[in-house]
């Protein structure tokens, strides 16, 4: 390697010394829902330009470039191609025989909300006290010291969505994070990323409420009635707000704003399209019912998560422009996962316009999304559905970026995008592949040759048992 990591990490120290940006006195967005009061304080460190030279590059746009260079300037992708001429003062990484991809994106994680160690005191991922808790925000549970962030980084994860759990029909708002060490969650928050809304189909809400608490809902029809009642309320809330604004505009002095409701703030924002809807849903028939419901209330489902039966409705999903986020081979751990097949991802991918995403929902799986994709490719090939690496990499880069509303910023190695980049020791579609270097906004956040330079969680500090866990 032709550069020293210390030089790059110097930028991080400079960042830590910077005073935080003051919170805006008024919300920046013309929104009543308060999101602007919890702004990102993440500031990419200032680093020298970097040239990654002579790699096999999967750009995330469906293109593979052999013996290509990637030039990073001012934290952004500057150019990708052959024999790039770096500006003066550029750090050069010789990536001969190595592969380069966009940083991996996991749209389904509970890191920080369900951190390790798994102690009751830190189990903050499910507000399982009411079937609709659209008022809660997963970001307010994120413990940035979860050691799982670091191991995910070693697997090339640069962006991740933290969702509330699936106990509730409507679980609450999600947050998108940059996978950078920080004392506060705001220091990890992806600047300007839309929030998401987590909803859940099927067994989990039925079990948690019907079976365990003997309350509504206890059936799948109850689930549907539960969502619909919430959306109907949100529609009314929106109408009241519109009516209030209409009166104000008409100069009515006695116009009274509708009483603020944090739960309905979230649902109304989802109906307006300001918050992106992510729905946990295993079964094909339930996904189809939810798509009908989305038409009834006029919103869009960005992605079905854990869509174990997506392969049965790959045509419907692609026609409706809905992504499916899937595991490679998990199945059978409950009834609604009984029909899982390892070709699921390639089936969704094969439908014209299909949007397949590999997700983890697991502190183990998030460490190796690349291997999950590789397994799907192998099973697909055996079924006669060949997917080349340059296409498969989109399942963990461009497609998740699209479902998060961030494809204009991350997910591919196109000029102008955030320089979230992984240099792999070999093709990432291998069990033996290791992430050698992980860049976030152009700064090296993990260097396998110098692992100690990436900080460990505070939790592991001073633990005699943890001494020597790193190579």
């Amino acid at each position: 390697m032709c550069f020293t990591l210390a030089a790059l990490l110097g930028g991080c120290a400079a960042q830590a010394a910077k005073p935080p940006k003051p919170a805006p006195a008024v919300p920046a967005a013309a929104s009543t829902d308060g999101a602007a009061f919890y702004p990102s304080t993440y500031q990419p460190p200032q680093v020298r330009p970097t040239l990654i030279r002579n790699a096999t590059v999967l750009t995330g746009t469906g293109t593979r470039l052999d013996h290509a260079d990637v030039l990073i300037v001012a934290g952004k992708i500057s150019a990708v191609g052959g024999h790039l001429q770096p500006p003066a003062d550029t750090l050069v990484v010789d990536a001969t025989d190595r592969w380069v991809t966009p940083g991996l994106i996991d749209i389904h994680s509970h890191l920080g909300d369900y951190p390790v160690p798994q102690v009751d005191a830190n189990a903050d991922g499910n507000e399982a006290t009411s079937p609709s808790t659209a008022n809660v925000w997963s970001e307010h549970s994120v413990w940035p010291q979860d050691p799982g962030f670091r191991t995910a980084l070693e697997g090339g994860i640069t962006t991740l969505q933290i969702l509330p759990g699936s106990a509730n029909l409507i679980g609450g708002r999600s947050v998108v994070l940059k996978n950078v060490p920080s004392v506060t969650y705001q220091g990890m928050k992806f600047p300007g990323a839309p929030q998401g809304l987590k909803m859940a189909c099927g067994e989990n809400p039925k079990r948690v409420y019907g079976q365990e608490k003997k309350q509504f809902p206890s059936t799948r029809m109850g689930n549907m009635a539960g969502y619909r009642a919430q959306w109907a309320e949100a529609q009314e809330y929106l109408r009241d707000q519109q009516e209030y604004r209409r009166k104000l505009a008409a100069g009515a002095k006695d116009a009274k704003p509708p009483k603020r409701d944090l739960r309905l703030d979230t649902l109304a924002a989802a109906l307006r399209g300001d918050i992106i809807v992510h729905m946990h849903c295993y079964r094909a028939d339930e996904m189809a019912a939810v798509l009908d419901m989305s038409q009834e209330f006029g919103y869009h489902v960005a992605a079905f998560h854990h869509a174990v039966e997506a392969y049965k409705i790959a045509d419907l999903l692609s026609e409706r422009g809905v992504c499916a986020a899937m595991w490679a081979d998990w199945w059978g751990f409950k009834m609604e996962a009984y029909d899982g097949i390892p070709e699921n991802i390639v089936f969704v991918d094969a439908a014209p316009g299909g949007c397949a995403i590999v997700h983890s929902d697991s502190e183990e799986g998030i460490q190796r999304l690349n291997q999950e994709a590789a397994k799907a490719v192998a099973y697909g090939a055996r079924a006669g559905l060949d997917v080349p690496p340059e296409r498969a990499i989109r399942w963990l880069t461009a497609n998740p970026a699209k479902s998060l509303g961030l494809l204009d910023r991350v997910g591919t190695l196109e000029p102008g995008k955030m320089a979230d980049v992984v240099v792999w020791s070999r093709t990432p579609f291998s069990v033996y592949a290791r992430a050698d270097l992980v860049f976030i906004d152009g700064a090296v956040r993990y260097d396998r040759a110098h692992p100690a330079l990436t900080p460990q969680s505070d939790f592991l500090l001073g633990q005699p048992a943890a001494a020597g866990i790193s190579p």
Binding site: V116, Y338, A350, R382, Y432
Partner: protein, 419 residues
């Protein structure tokens, strides 16, 4: 000689050979996982279900099926780990989950094996992943209201993925913080309870009048068998200090033990090696999932191997559905320093030896039942699939409920994409 075209597409299946069929696998890279090591360009002659000959350029008997390996690797059939294969069809469904006894008493005589369902669809899925044998283990679970568990979970057999069951048994014991709820709230009581149980076995008369006894007569009989070494006693244990307690207990009581889980085993590797205690570990453990596994690292396997400890692989989670993933976990251990051949042994010969079935599983040797897999590539690689699977001499169909679902919906997909 009847040459059979070998086929990569699982949609086109060569009919599996029955027990009587004679098969030659020609020009394979044979990982024998025995003293013979790796045989390049080797042929395997399978006759009457047994490996009749093994070597270069064997004469193909008349009428034999020939599978051209073209240099592809052959390994022994893989171990599927320790867990619930065939005793947990679906998680969260009590009518098909038979793995935990919740009678609230210590019942070492509980043998979960009769619950094994050879028709479980999970077997077919795992077979396609090259898994040919697995160790059944009941779970020690506290249970709900009015129920209870015990730190001795009970016994289980080696089951084969042709649906048959091996004669031996192993006994499973839960220790450490995860089992505190089963031992009155303290892990220290786990050894207190075990010592009392052993006392009841060794001095049955002393305790005949006691109403505080832990074991039934059948339980005493069962434990006595394990004291005489009829099978291993497997301790679930994680943190280094607890592993030391198990080592000391085993030595004090002269027990034949193995430990399972053990993310911190590398920290006491030298002691385990001296005590000759094998470790069944999950190569994916690298996070402090609990305070008992603060020292978890992906290098656990490599460090134990370097210290001379015998290792086998199993996922910690006993759910059987994705045990085909265990070879991926073995590959990850290799990516973190474990020699490739040791990783394969930890999936084949080592567990076969630990559980007393090395005469039929875990290595490829002349005279043994053919229990082997022909792979499309490196068996530890995620892009590799099993091309041919033999279990105890019988070639297996490469189909499962999952391939039937795949094929049903593949035609629907093709109709859609053709539009």
């Amino acid at each position: 000689m009847r040459p059979t075209r070998w086929i990569c597409g699982a949609l086109l299946l060569a009919g599996p050979a029955g027990h009587g069929a004679t098969v030659v696998i020609r020009d394979a890279t044979v990982h024998t996982v025995s003293a013979a090591g790796v045989l390049q360009h080797a042929d395997i002659l399978i006759r009457d279900g047994r490996i009749d000959a093994l070597g270069a350029r064997l004469t193909v008997p008349p009428g034999a099926d020939v599978i051209e390996a073209g240099g592809r690797p052959v390994t022994p059939g893989l171990f599927g780990g320790v867990g619930h294969l065939g005793i947990e069809e679906i998680g969260l469904e009590p009518t098909v989950d038979d793995y935990a006894l919740k009678l609230g008493a210590m019942r070492p005589e509980f043998d979960v094996t009769p619950a094994f369902n050879p028709d479980s669809v999970v077997l077919g899925v795992a077979r396609l992943g090259g898994v040919t044998f697995a160790q059944l283990a009941p779970s020690a679970e506290p249970g709900g209201k009015g129920e209870g568990g015990a730190i001795i979970a009970g016994q289980g057999a080696i089951v084969r993925l042709d649906g048959t069951v091996a004669p031996g048994r192993a006994l499973f014991v839960a220790a450490g913080g995860a089992a505190n709820a089963l031992s009155g709230g303290s892990r220290a009581a786990q050894f207190m309870l075990l010592e009392q149980a052993l006392l009841e076995v060794r001095q049955p008369k002393l305790l005949m009048a006691s109403d505080a006894r832990l074991l039934t007569p059948a339980g005493r009989q069962t434990l006595l068998g394990y004291l005489r070494g009829t099978g291993p006693i497997v301790f679930d244990v994680e943190r280094a200090a607890d592993i030391r307690q198990v080592i000391a207990f085993a030595q004090r009581e002269h027990l034949r033990v193995a430990i399972r889980g053990a993310p911190e085993a590398w920290r006491v590797a030298g002691e385990l090696a001296v005590a000759r205690i094998p470790v069944i570990l999950d190569p994916l453990d690298d996070l402090p999932e609990s305070f008992d596994s603060v020292g978890a690292t992906l290098e656990n396997a490599a460090r134990l191997e370097r210290a001379g400890v015998t290792i086998a692989f199993s996922f910690d989670a006993p759910e059987p559905h994705n045990i085909r993933k265990l070879r991926q976990a073995a590959g990850i251990a290799v990516a973190h320093g474990l020699p490739w051949e040791v990783a394969l042994a930890a999936l084949t010969r080592n567990p076969a030896e630990m559980f007393g079935v090395a005469d039929r599983h875990g290595s490829i040797e002349r005279g043994r039942p053919a229990d082997l897999v022909l792979w499309s590539g490196d068996p530890l690689e995620v892009t590799t699939l099993a091309d041919t699977v033999f279990i105890q001499g019988v070639q297996q169909p490469l189909s499962s409920r999952q391939t039937e679902l795949r094929d049903r919906y593949l035609s629907k997909l093709r109709a859609h994409t053709a539009r």
